[in-house]
Symmetry: C2
Amino acid sequence: MHDIVLAHNETKGRAFLNQLSGKTPLFACVIGVTETAKIPGISAAGKYPELTDYTPPADVELLLLGKCRCIAGVPVTPEGIPTPALITMSALRLANIPALVVSGGLKINPHVPFLDLGGESGRDVRTGKAVDNAGEVMWRAKIAAENLSKTVDYLVIGESIPGGTTTALGALLAMGIDAKGKVSSSMPGNPHGLKIRTVEDGLKASNVGFGVLANDPLKAISCVGDPMMPAFAGLILGAADKVPVVMAGGTQMGAVLSVVKAINPNVLDNVAIGTTRWIMIDKTADLKGIITQIADVPILAADLDFSQSRFEGLRAYEAGMVKEGVGAGGAAIAAMAKSEGSITKDTLLVEIESNYERLVRSK
Amino acid sequence: MHDIVLAHNETKGRAFLNQLSGKTPLFACVIGVTETAKIPGISAAGKYPELTDYTPPADVELLLLGKCRCIAGVPVTPEGIPTPALITMSALRLANIPALVVSGGLKINPHVPFLDLGGESGRDVRTGKAVDNAGEVMWRAKIAAENLSKTVDYLVIGESIPGGTTTALGALLAMGIDAKGKVSSSMPGNPHGLKIRTVEDGLKASNVGFGVLANDPLKAISCVGDPMMPAFAGLILGAADKVPVVMAGGTQMGAVLSVVKAINPNVLDNVAIGTTRWIMIDKTADLKGIITQIADVPILAADLDFSQSRFEGLRAYEAGMVKEGVGAGGAAIAAMAKSEGSITKDTLLVEIESNYERLVRSK
């Protein structure tokens, strides 16, 4: 399928992709919110920082319903660029792929069904006490995935958590992965300095040095991570010994991968990262540089191209806005794989533009 | 499969059962609680009426984990007879059938993952305002089932809600089904008089006469039903146009069937009731008499027989205690069908006794 790029670890990537061909996955979207996202300048996943509590529930409403319920319109960046959930939703609809919402910890519940794991929203990472009950949430996610993986061909797992690359940086540093200057951003100007300062405050507050928690990933999450991480990792741990799992996301997948590796490295053989071309060409970040420090997993990238879009809000993706999120890249890959190539980047763009027109432009 | 009885509508039942052979279902367990269950003498689903809030979460913990977390031991009747979840859990484990917990409305959340539909626990049916947001809960359940049914061969849906036969009587009468003296009970002496008085208080309080709400099932639930009903009905409405659905339960299935019929009778062709032999031979109730007033659906019954069990607590089922619940009959049928008959009532009893010994006797 020429619209999926084997972006890293080509041989394994091709073999992984072959397994998915013609199969129907379950797309699980793990959502969470944190106070970290409300630090000015950290997150673009909402028009204002205070709105970030609404972005993940609105994203998953869009996935399941084709429209949001808890907000008017769809989530946008401060510049008005629409959520990548628009890509995910379009891919899932085109390919008739089912979705399940999983909460890691929220302030506002989505107005759609969601799997509750008993998690709570995350604190400001600068407290050094970012997440409560990470172990329990991970364990419950594992139980759920053990059950669900008995009925599905494979899993695609995406996430929506504003400020997630900052907390990813925190967890990665605590687990000894050199990720400074390497995590991505939904903003074109990646605020690395602010992210590093924020996370270093958290590491100091929890008295955790670089790499000290390499073998205690739950503590890394608890101190300087976020509530998406234990839920996402638990789903992989419960499913990947039985079915392939696509980790649909950008540099945040590094933090989740590092957690999974520390707990059960055996499942890593059945895992690939699925992302977008925009993440791979991002000069302000280095997904490959993070992943290769952790495990020998393939990276697949949906070769999405919005440069010829009719809509400025979509062309902005080519200028480095948003890039990825809500499992957009992995959902696009799954749609292409399920359709055995009859869904292409072009048919996907037509669907995305049609949904954009209905949801964004008509406002 | 000679350990499944075609108890009603034999031709349709045989055709339905043939579809299930060798297939893997998802077992969904819908749970809820009400204040109705705390009326003395109404429910035996708990050692004391106050404990009924813990019974459904404990039941589903048993299903997913093989043991309870929110209570010590397992739920028992006032006489110490163990929950039918013991049967369900044994059947699911033997046949490697996955389970998903769905909350209609609870006071105590289970310590396992569960699907949240935004529902709340039910009031005392005598208020005539038994359930809030029935329409929203049903709609969310439908969304969830539309998604899940894309990945499963078929669905088996069970329930655990103490006092559920009383609220079933309420909803049935409001929808015009003559169910007085016909609903079952987990007690050997079925307290029909108390149930009828309780429900008539509720019908009076909500100013609803017999059959007045035949075409308004959501109002019937809201006035004199329970929070399990909209969740259960929504799952059927979302799934049964795509995959077969086994309604796993006793006379409460009448109330759910009546709701589904009023909303979308087209899906009834893809539905069967799966119950236990103990329900079919119950002289204090009349499942067939309820169902035949509603729809032409088959009734399948697992031919369970505990008369030769080593344990008094299991032999009590033969004396009319408990009889059904937590989808025990439907789960047993699904286990037999998945194994194409290699799981029998005898192998099932061995597994049930082994779990009984571990969980009940060792206390």
